[in-house]
């Protein structure tokens, strides 16, 4: 079990314990007066080795108390280059959505994404890891605690540290928001059989993405990501999985963009497995 997953299981245990002790405790939604900031540029760039061109989305941040609506950023100049001499300018397909045409994700290649907008330049570098570590197996099991069905992914980490993995889980085609991260800090060169632990999962709500029941279609996507992307998602998870009992001082995730933008650029492999939950 890697760092992240271990922390999550330890934290959730403490959370459960805390709430158990605090049998009289309670949670409620409160209205706060929050400070605001100037809107920030958010860049989300992805290039996978699935034969599809690069996709870059530009948007801005909003005040916390408003309804979720994030204005797209149009008219930016978005260029992608690789270390094999490739270069292209992405076209804006829909407002704020920029799509490449010629460059494809190739294992071992380093890509540079450059975004120019509002007189400022933001640059990120990401390497598509090579060789791509295969996704050996997807299965399910009953959780050791409680009686939830959990997805289990198997892969064999190659010798030598520095491999990082990201998993996304879909229940009946719908994406579970949890970002599952692994690296080989503690599992270098080992066969890994990793449970994708979702938060909760106790309800019978058929729309609950954390719950799996027999008959469900389960899809898991495995990505090989570079260490910068891993760091981004690790620090993103730190604020996404805040625990009300173990409070930490939150911080913005470590982006791989220079220039002060939020978000990330990830060149990664993409391997998908689908099974029917028994």
């Amino acid at each position: 079990m890697t760092n992240k997953a271990r922390r999550r299981s330890v934290s959730s245990l403490f959370a459960a314990l805390g709430l158990l002790l605090a049998g009289t405790g309670c949670q409620k939604v409160v209205t706060l007066t929050l400070q605001t900031s100037a809107s920030q540029l958010v860049i989300e760039g992805n290039l996978a080795d699935d034969g599809q061109p690069a996709q870059v989305s530009l948007s801005t941040s909003a005040d916390y108390t408003t309804t979720n609506s994030f204005a797209p950023v149009s008219g930016a100049t978005v260029t992608l280059t690789d270390n094999a001499g490739g270069r292209e300018t992405l076209r804006e397909a829909t407002p704020g959505q920029y799509v490449g045409s010629t460059l494809r994700g190739v294992a071992g290649r380093a890509y540079t994404l450059r975004v120019e907008t509002g007189g400022a330049v933001y640059v990120a570098l990401s390497t598509l890891p090579a060789p791509v570590v295969p996704f050996d197996k997807l299965s399910t099991q009953l959780s050791a605690v409680g009686s939830n069905i959990q997805a289990v992914v198997d892969y064999t980490d190659p010798a030598g540290t520095g491999n990082s993995y990201l998993f996304r889980q879909y229940r009946n085609g719908r994406l579970n928001p949890t970002i599952f991260l692994q690296n080989d800090q503690f599992t270098d060169g080992k066969h890994v059989s990793q449970v994708l632990r979702t938060m909760g999962g106790g309800t019978t709500d058929p729309n609950n993405l954390n719950k799996l029941v027999a008959g469900d279609s389960l899809q898991v996507e495995m990505q090989n990501v570079d260490s910068g992307v891993y760091e981004y998602f690790r620090t993103l998870n730190q604020i996404l999985t805040t625990n009300p009992i173990i409070t930490t001082t939150p911080a913005n995730p470590k982006t791989n963009f220079s220039g002060g933008a939020l978000g990330y650029f990830s060149a990664h492999s993409k391997r998908i497995k689908r099974i029917k939950v028994m």
């Binding site: 079990m1 409160v30 400070q35 605690v145 289990v152 270098d188 001082t249 939150p250």
Partner: protein, 787 residues
């Protein structure tokens, strides 16, 4: 280096000056003087009474306090005197004697007990605060602690301490606390001189100190005497009881969470005694009754064992042994287990070289360790970690004259710190990681001089020289500005890798304005060489200690304070204390945003160094006499930090910065059977970081954060009440019993423990702030007995 040489030079000079002073003032007059010395004990149990006052009625201002072993020494001109010994909760005792030569006078004081109308029970030496130069010190009366209502009815000295001005809990239900704006790791917590590295059980809801075993608690918030060092913000000196040396007794209690049992008695009547106390929770008994198999196979408990024994070979030689063992266990259906706890042992030898020179030699062992066991799929592994101390300490107390006392001594601590590392066999999918144990030696020598320069003027001056050496073997790295490893060097064993020396001057002065009022001033410098890394406000068993190394510099603090002390009312019924302080902190440690502390060998590369400042004013009105006792405290304070890499280098509020803090503690002895108590707390909320915006990434709505700790949790308000019923004692029966009832948070106010931000579960287009409160009303009942 030149600076150190200069300071050393100054140190030698100062020491010389002191010696000259007491040589000139002490022995010169000795021909016509005689020394009174002895111990002050409880008449019924033989328990020594630390801090009991012994004074000579005929000589105004001549008196002393019994030390931690109940010993006092007083040098006065020969003559006929009335000697008076007094202590809080005891009937004062006087002895008239004609002094021609040095004489031993032992006092055995009768406890006042709860028979209110029987004897005049003297208050906490109300005079001590008036007549001594020491400031920033608070003592807890264990009898009061027993009656203050607490969470789940578990008497808790740490929780009770946080009701005093200047001492703030790190969070509801936490055993961590902040003293005068300092960090949680800047408190030196000593149990019979052994440092306790993790003073909490069960996430901090309970502290490791079983009140049954504790004799007294003294906390220094500032102006620490030179015999203490190693932490910046406070010293909490907890002493265990010695045990009854007259007869075998037992006591215990059955509470909501835990049960306690204590046994004490003489080893040789009047000469030696023992004490054994135990405490264990029994939540896991209920787990076993569960119908759910997972719950049945889980464990959740903690226990404490305290043991102490002492034996006086004669009036000049006494040996003490004390030990503590505590353990927490948390297991989940054989897939997850976490075990942690402290072990301490102290062997002490008291020796009187003469009736004026008291010596104590201590050999101390302390260990904190944790183990996490994980078994999941093919991932079977453990994580283990420990911090262990071997400590040799020698203290002398020399009564130079009626007006001067010298304390001096030296100490050496050998630290072994093993950061958490993975232990796994080859079949596991998890690899074992290197054991990066580090070794260090912490040394100190001190000299302290207590001097009554004039009847109204007192000085305590001291100097502590502290050293810290990083020892081999070990692997240490250098880092660039971004925290990336530049080079690593592995050193062999038996080498001093790096040594830091620090001089810590301590000064205190008091001037008695009148019989009832005193003003004081003090200055203290402290250095700290063990640093706790935690990225949570909750004290977790896995929090990590790092020593001072090549990269990590010793933390340092300078504190100045001014105080005004006054007794009020006809019988000095009330004492008023007003203290103001300013504390400057250097080499404070924080870490880069997003740092992972677990399994991170290069955590030093992620550390940031900055400074801090804390200042404030504390008001405390105490009433220690009569049917109604308690206190009223108010603190106005500020605590801030500054790091070049955080907040753009601007000062920001420390998490524990809570400008306003009010606490009221009242205990009312209504009848001999019934007493009632209440505590009221109100304070500004912790400084926290709320989002200043939000954005969308990876299919999720994410909070955007601005300046650190720029927001505040709502104010905290809580009222706790309690009642104690003592069953009337029947003549001829040894059995005594009492019931304590309490309600924690009687008003049921939902005090925010944390506020988290999330997507509205019912409307994904909206985000919301979710407030978590830990406790509404928590009633509890405890049955206590003794025989």
């Amino acid at each position: 280096m030149r600076g150190i040489a200069y300071l050393m030079h100054k140190h030698v000079l100062l020491t010389g000056l002191w010696l000259l002073l007491w040589l000139a003032l002490g022995p010169a007059a000795a021909q016509t003087r005689a020394t009174l010395s002895g111990t002050v004990q409880d008449a019924t149990s033989g328990e020594t009474l630390t801090g009991a006052t012994v004074r000579v009625r005929e000589l105004r201002g001549v008196g002393t306090g019994a030390n931690a072993y109940g010993f006092y020494s007083l040098t006065v001109p020969v003559g006929t005197y009335t000697l008076e010994a007094s202590f809080v909760g005891y009937a004062a005792q006087t002895r008239t004697l004609t002094l021609t030569g040095s004489q031993r006078v032992d006092f055995k004081l009768q406890p006042g007990g709860s028979q209110l109308n029987e004897v005049v029970v003297t208050g906490r030496s109300a005079d001590a605060n008036i007549s001594k130069a020491q400031m920033g010190v608070e003592q807890l009366d264990m009898k009061q602690v027993a009656k203050v209502p607490v969470l789940f009815g578990e008497r808790d000295i740490i929780k009770t301490l946080t009701l005093l001005p200047g001492i703030k809990t790190a969070g509801e239900g936490s055993s961590g606390f902040s003293v005068r704006g300092g960090a949680v790791d800047q408190n030196l917590i000593l149990l019979d001189e052994a440092p306790v590295y993790n003073a909490s059980h069960l996430l901090g809801f309970f502290s490791t100190f079983n009140a049954d075993a504790i004799k007294d608690v003294t906390v220094y918030k500032g102006g620490m005497p030179a015999q203490y060092g190693g932490r910046l913000s406070s010293v909490v000196d907890i002493r265990m009881r010695d045990g009854n040396n007259q007869a075998l007794h037992g006591s215990g209690g059955i509470g909501l969470i835990a049960s306690r049992l204590a046994l004490e008695g003489p080893i040789v009547k009047g000469k030696g005694s023992f004490l054994v106390t135990g405490r264990r929770t029994y939540a896991d008994v209920f787990l076993k009754l569960s119908r759910n198999e997972t719950t049945r196979n889980s464990s959740l408990y903690f226990y404490d064992l305290n043991a102490k024994a002492n034996y006086a070979f004669d009036a000049r030689n006494r040996l003490y042994f004390s030990g503590y063992l505590g353990r927490d266990a948390l297991g989940l259906n054989n897939t997850f287990g976490q075990y942690y706890g402290n072990k301490t042992a102290t062997l002490r030898y008291n020796h009187l070289f003469s009736d004026r020179l008291f010596s104590n030699t201590s050999l101390i062992f302390s260990k904190y360790d944790y183990e996490i066991d994980i078994a999941s799929n093919d991932q079977n592994f453990s994580i283990i970690s420990k911090i262990q101390d071997l400590n040799l300490k020698q203290d002398f107390e020399y009564t130079a004259s009626a007006t001067q006392t010298l304390r001096f001594g030296a100490q050496a601590i050998y630290h072994t710190i093993t950061p958490g590392h993975v232990v796994a066999d080859a079949s596991s999918s998890v690899n074992a990681t290197a054991d990066r144990t580090n070794y260090s030696l912490e040394t100190a020598a001190y000299l302290s001089h207590e001097w009554q320069a004039a009847p109204r003027l007192n000085f305590t001056s001291g100097l502590r020289l502290s050293g810290f050496s990083l020892l081999g073997p070990g692997t240490y790295s250098t880092y660039d500005a971004a925290g990336t490893v530049l080079s690593s060097t592995t050193y062999p064993s038996g080498q001093f890798l790096k040594t830091y020396l620090r001089l810590e001057p301590r000064l205190a002065a008091s001037y008695q304005l009148s019989e009832a009022a005193t003003v004081k001033a003090s200055y203290a410098r402290n250095a700290q060489n063990l640093h706790l890394l935690s990225n949570s406000s909750t004290s977790l068993p896995t929090d990590m200690y790092v020593p001072t190394t090549f990269n990590v510099q010793p933390e340092a603090a300078d504190q100045v304070s001014l105080g005004y002390y006054r007794t009020l009312g006809p019988d000095k019924t009330y004492t008023l204390t007003v203290e103001t302080y300013y504390k400057a902190l250097r080499n404070q440690i924080d870490y880069r945003d997003g740092t992972s502390l677990r399994g991170n060998f290069d955590v030093e590369g992620s550390l940031l160094y900055g400074r801090g400042r804390a200042y404030g004013i504390e008001f405390l009105l105490r009433k220690d006499l009569g049917r109604l006792t308690g206190w009223l405290g108010y603190t106005l304070s500020k605590s801030q930090r500054q790091f070049a890499e955080i907040n753009g280098g601007a000062w920001f509020n420390a998490r524990q910065d809570r400008p306003h803090d009010v606490s009221v503690v009242a205990i009312y002895q209504a009848t001999p059977k019934w007493s009632f108590s209440g505590t009221f707390l109100a304070s500004t909320g912790n400084a926290v970081t709320y989002p200043v915006g939000k954005y969308q990434v990876a299919g999720q709505v994410v909070s955007y954060y601005g300046a650190r700790n720029a927001d505040r949790l709502p104010a905290y308000v809580r009222l706790d009440v309690g009642a104690t019923y003592e069953k009337p004692h029947q003549e001829g029966h040894r059995w005594r019993s009492s019931w304590t009832f309490s309600v924690y948070n009687l008003l049921g106010r939902e005090n925010p423990y944390s506020i988290t931000f999330e997507t509205n579960p019912n409307d994904a287009s909206k985000t919301q702030a979710l407030q978590t409160a830990l406790f509404r009303q928590v009633p509890s009942a405890t049955y206590n007995f003794s025989f």
